[in-house]
């Protein structure tokens, strides 16, 4: 597994703490929309690096244990 992918999974674990009620697919879709724009293709097209950057940026904005 690539380092980026490992980082993505870690970040998704952190996201799951913030949004415990979201389905996993819903979480991936929401992050992809933030990264690529709100289209159905975003989930398919988003690059791992872009996905990771987006989720990290979102987590940075959240207060601890929000």
């Amino acid at each position: 597994m690539t380092d980026t992918r490992q980082e993505i999974l870690k970040a998704l674990a952190e996201m799951s703490d913030y949004y415990p009620d979201w389905r996993f697919g819903q979480m991936v879709a929401n992050i992809a929309f933030w990264a690529k724009g709100p289209t159905a293709e975003a989930i398919w097209e988003v690059e791992d690096e872009q996905f990771l950057e987006t989720v990290k940026k979102h987590l940075k904005k959240k207060p601890p244990n929000a």
Partner: protein, 180 residues
């Protein structure tokens, strides 16, 4: 000699006020105003997505101090993240739920909660261009509330990106049962 002592006293006072944090009053004004720059109108966003706005760092260019904190002025509510109340029918549907709420989940929520929105958890949204909001979580709740005339729902803005355009996406109100 007297003039010299007055001058030294003035200098000492100025230094003491700076050190004791009297500048906080100024920073308190500066902060909210700079924060508002984040709320870039769509017309100010270039096609490449970059903004022509630059935060104001020179205090002399700032507006006079407001009577109450800027963040609490009603016209700036749209610039906030946090929980707001909005008309559910106006919210945009996510591209993965373009046909609106799952009819089975909607029927279940209707059966359980009827026309009540009391205690409803905030619908989580992303705010984009023109302050439009797209749902990240709570499509079924929004659809049920949209069927109740005149109701508003709590929404939590969890992400804000003025570059994102949601205009191609249908609104919740266009996809509630009974609409063609």
């Amino acid at each position: 000699m007297k003039h010299w002592s007055e001058l030294i006293l003035l200098l000492l006072l100025a230094f003491a006020s700076q050190a004791s944090g009297a500048g906080d009053a100024v920073r308190g004004i500066v902060k909210p105003v700079v924060q508002l720059i984040d709320d870039v109108p769509a017309s100010c966003v270039t096609p490449s997505g970059s903004s022509s706005f630059q935060p104001i760092t020179d205090p002399s260019r700032l507006l006079p101090a407001p009577q109450q904190p800027v963040a609490l002025l009603p016209e700036n509510v749209a610039a906030q993240t946090g929980v707001l109340r909005v008309k559910p029918a106006e919210l945009r549907l996510p591209p993965t739920r373009i046909e609106g709420a799952d009819p089975f989940k909607l029927a279940d929520q209707n059966r359980r909660y009827g026309t009540s929105t009391e205690g409803m958890p905030p619908i989580q949204v992303t705010r984009g261009a023109n302050n439009e909001m797209i749902i990240n979580d709570g499509v079924t709740r929004a659809a049920r509330a949209a069927m109740i005339p005149g109701t508003t729902v709590p929404v939590e803005v969890i992400e804000h990106n003025p570059v994102l355009n949601f205009q191609h996406l249908p609104r919740v109100g266009e996809k509630v049962p009974g609409k063609p």
